[in-house]
């Protein structure tokens, strides 16, 4: 754990940023505070990044949200806490290891029984004066906004909008609470540590205001809509449920059928049924649910039926830690399903990737008639930040369905392995798909020569898939001695760390597509004298994949598997030791 007195290690001077953490029990307003603050900062022209860590329970326990406010974009969590707002007694013990001597603790002494120094702010008392203790958190919101010199109009307007549905009385109380917060701030700013906190608002601020702010689940969902998704079937499972929820809420608007299945087996089979008709279907699940879908994944392979699978990882095995993060299901995804057939696995690194790769997944699944897996994790799903608006002119829904002729054969032995895909009811032909080994028509066969041909047909598609591969992204110098490698959700974290390391000969290679492993991989790795793998799992699964396809051995593995993402400052410290 890196405490806030270790400020030296991160960030470098060029970056001005504050790590603000709010901690309290589940179901007691922490989410509202986070919601309001992030939007207010953004409207105020600052970059915000928010991520949370929470327990698998509906009420009680200790959850915390970290909000990073910065002038240049910082899109990764920090161990260090600059300002901590504890909402109850459990908060300080919960975060003990991350509280340093420079951490400013803002809270109600009475409520939190602090172990260290705290700036006692009587939020509840003030709220009661306004008329209701529920306004306490809003006073805190006002106070924090004020500390960062956000124009008071911004929180006032946003709070009004936010509480509008709750009636005028609540709105008024909240407005007063915000104002009280601003009043408190003018006093607090006399304290030196607080006075130093300001972050210059970057210019042109207009830019940040026009950006969108959303979490990973929303980005996947919007990507799906943009990919022409007609159908989602899923069984709720953290951290994958957000996508089902989002698509359900916009189902009517976008002509989507969103169905909660009785189990994950049903979900994947429904999605395959949907694709069979020409609809574009997806499922969203996590490790345990995906484990149950294995036979269905194999079915997709045999039927050559497209399907898009969103797999949001959490720590396993079994139920594991349902609300935490891990990158432990890579191998399961790589080798999922019995028998042999091609697939694609994308591992988006952030909000932009999540959107564009999910969109692309639908096109590629359709084109190659294969399962495409979008491998994310809890950290990605639950984190959000302001980012450029998605550019719809860059995307296209590519259609690959053919009208059938009378003599249509679903599995005609095409040269590249990809036969025309017809759908029932469009054209004069019949569309037969079969989980048994089948002939070109799609009927069951025991012709063993044909079996070999059909296996070859399915496997040939690997070659085609290669053509559309997404190369890894090299960050840093083109000439390097040491190469840090990562995939998926660690993208921004490693990037931040790299920037801060300021090592000329160290670069970072990030994979957004892990399978098929992109062709340039070996070249990149060969150039390095030393390869360092950074992964959120215990057995370094991606190192194994690299070894398998490039023969290259990773020199160091930096692994974390306690259920949390890497913290930038923590990662920097670890990397410094081995570089």
């Amino acid at each position: 754990m890196v405490k806030s007195d270790n400020k030296k290690i991160y960030p470098d001077k060029g970056k001005q940023m504050i790590s603000l953490v709010i901690c309290g029990e589940a179901g007691r307003g922490i989410q509202t505070v986070e919601m309001l603050l992030t939007r207010i900062f953004k409207l105020g022209g600052l970059n915000v990044f928010a991520t949370k860590e929470y327990m698998s329970r509906v009420r009680g326990g200790s959850n915390s949200t970290q909000i990073i406010i910065s002038s240049k974009k910082v899109l990764a969590p920090l161990s260090r806490i600059d300002i901590l707002v504890p909402l109850d007694k459990l908060a300080l013990p919960h975060l003990k290891k991350r509280i340093g001597k420079n951490t400013i603790i803002l809270g109600e002494k009475e409520k939190i029984l602090p172990e260290g120094e705290i700036l006692d702010v009587p939020f509840t008392k003030i709220a009661e004066e306004i008329g209701n203790p529920i306004f306490a958190n809003i006073v805190a919101v006002g106070l924090i906004a004020a500390i960062f010199r956000i124009n008071q109009q911004i929180p006032l307007e946003y709070t009004r909008k936010h509480f509008l549905a709750k009636g005028e009385k609540i709105v008024q109380g909240n407005m007063i609470a915000i104002k009280k917060g601003y009043e408190l701030a003018s006093d607090l700013r006399k304290i030196e540590s607080i006075a130093q906190l300001s972050i210059p608002i970057p210019d042109p601020q207009q830019h940040i205001k026009e950006e969108i702010i959303l979490n990973g689940a929303e980005a996947v969902s919007l990507g799906a809509i943009s990919g022409g998704c007609h159908f989602i079937s899923a069984y709720p499972m953290s951290p994958s449920t957000g996508v089902l929820t989002f698509l359900s809420q916009h189902a009517e608007e976008f002509n989507i059928i969103a169905e909660q299945a009785e189990d994950e087996i049903s979900a994947i089979n429904m999605a395959l049924g949907a694709w069979y008709t020409g609809a574009r279907g997806m499922v969203t699940t996590s490790g345990g649910g995906f484990a149950l879908m294995q036979e269905g994944v194999s079915l997709a392979g045999m039927l050559e039926m497209p399907v898009v699978i969103h797999l949001a990882q959490r720590p396993g095995p079994a139920t594991g830690l349902p609300t935490r993060t891990e990158q432990g299901d890579l191998e399961l995804a790589l080798y999922s399903g019995h028998g042999e057939f091609p697939r694609i696995i994308y591992t988006p690194g952030g909000i932009q990737d999540l959107f564009y790769l999910t969109q692309r997944a639908f096109n590629l699944a359709d084109e190659y008639q294969i399962p495409v897996i979008i491998l994310t994790d809890e950290y990605l799903m639950d984190s959000y930040y302001n980012t450029a608006e998605f550019n719809l002119s860059k995307i296209k829904i590519e259609k690959y369905i053919s009208k059938t002729k009378k003599d249509y054969r679903r599995y005609q032995l095409a040269k590249n392995g990809i036969s025309e895909r017809g759908i029932p009811g469009w054209g004069e032909g019949l569309v037969l798909v079969d989980s048994d080994e089948h002939d070109e028509q799609g009927r069951i066969t025991e012709d063993l020569e044909l079996r070999t041909k059909m296996v070859d047909k399915r496997l040939k598609k690997f070659k085609e898939i290669k053509k559309g591969e997404i190369s890894p992204e090299l960050i840093g110098n083109q000439e390097y001695d040491t190469l840090i490698v990562g995939w998926g959700s660690t993208y921004h974290i490693i990037k931040e760390a790299l920037e801060s390391l300021k090592e000329d000969k160290v670069s970072f290679l990030h994979f957004k597509q892990v399978y098929p492993l992109p062709s340039k991989t070996e070249d990149y790795l060969k150039k390095a004298k030393k390869v360092i793998m950074v992964e959120n799992n215990a057995t370094s699964q991606f190192s194994k994949l690299l070894k398998l396809y490039t023969g290259i051995e990773v020199a160091h593995e930096v692994l974390k598997y306690n259920g949390l993402p890497f913290f930038v400052d923590e990662l920097i410290a670890q990397l410094e030791k081995i570089i």
Partner: protein, 286 residues
């Protein structure tokens, strides 16, 4: 009437044993479709794995021959994505009530407008004669060496308990009546279960053609809208009634419950993404 569902390929080698009840079911289905003037091109038969599940291999139809036990979710999604198709989910007693039991329960709850045909031979045919969920007490097999002692699964009673919209039982020994029941089931709007007794000549020496013949009779004077009476009939064990046990015609189908179909009936597969709406939704994330 000409049968439009025969395959053009002659001499097709049906993988069933001579004398198997599945031949009759195949014939009954082809006749029912023909008489209802359904077109092959707009018919989709979804099946699982087993002897029963091979049926759509042997006539002219669109076919989704999927996994053992999983026909119902596939069929439900097909009907939802393209309600213009006639959809059948077909399989054996092991397929639908064993491996697929959970989907059976929840498909009934969803009430998609499709027909669920279950060849009930009270045995696992394709895997060579183990007990199925509907195997009768005392039925001996290479696995159930001392005879089945589990309560036989009663699909009709369960369907009625779940307030299924159409519940019927047929016996393929009577081709004409079976065709009539199939036709009623296919015409019915909503989920329709037809559990059909089908002798397995190779592995079920207990529930033979003549056993079924003796045990069964057609419901007479029964009011299929009476759920209690239907339940009472369904739990008979001395004699096994045939016919339509229960019908609940007004029930909302799954497709009707889908918001996207409330106003516009165009199958969703034929609709385009509204980019303007999408742009707005994205902008709303500011």
């Amino acid at each position: 009437m000409e049968n439009l569902f025969d395959l053009e390929e002659k001499n097709i080698d049906l993988a069933w044993c001579p004398g198997c009840g599945n031949f009759g079911i195949l014939q009954a289905l082809k006749r029912a479709f023909t008489e209802l003037e359904i077109k092959s091109e707009s018919l989709v038969v979804v099946s699982g794995i087993g002897q029963a599940a091979k049926t759509p291999q042997y006539f002219k139809t669109n076919m989704f021959n999927g996994l053992h036990g999983r026909a119902l979710p596939v069929a439900t999604a097909i009907k939802a994505c393209n309600p213009e198709l006639t959809v059948i989910a077909e399989g054996g007693d092991g397929d639908m009530y064993g491996e697929g039991g959970n989907h059976f329960l929840h498909a009934i709850r969803r009430n998609p407008n499709l027909t669920n045909i279950v060849h009930n031979n009270m045995v696992y045919g394709l895997t060579k004669g183990q007990a199925s969920p509907t195997s009768q007490l005392g039925f001996k097999t290479p696995v159930q060496v001392n005879g089945v002692f589990l309560e036989p699964f009663n699909p009709l009673a369960v369907a009625i308990a779940l307030n299924a919209s159409f519940v019927a039982r047929a016996f393929i020994g009577d081709l004409e009546q079976t065709i009539e029941i199939f036709k009623e089931a296919i015409k019915h709007k909503g989920y329709a279960l037809v559990d059909i007794f089908q002798p397995c000549v190779s592995f079920n020496k207990l529930n033979t053609h003549s056993w079924f013949k003796e045990k069964t009779f057609y419901l007479k004077g029964h009011d299929p809208s009476d759920r209690l009476a239907a339940f009472e009939q369904s739990i008979q064990t001395e004699k096994l009634p045939l016919g339509i046990f229960y019908k609940h015609p007004g029930k909302k189908t799954f497709e009707e419950g889908i918001k996207a179909y409330e106003v516009d009936k165009t199958p969703i597969i034929n609709r385009m993404l509204d980019r303007e709406k999408l742009r707005k939704l994205i902008k709303a994330k500011r």
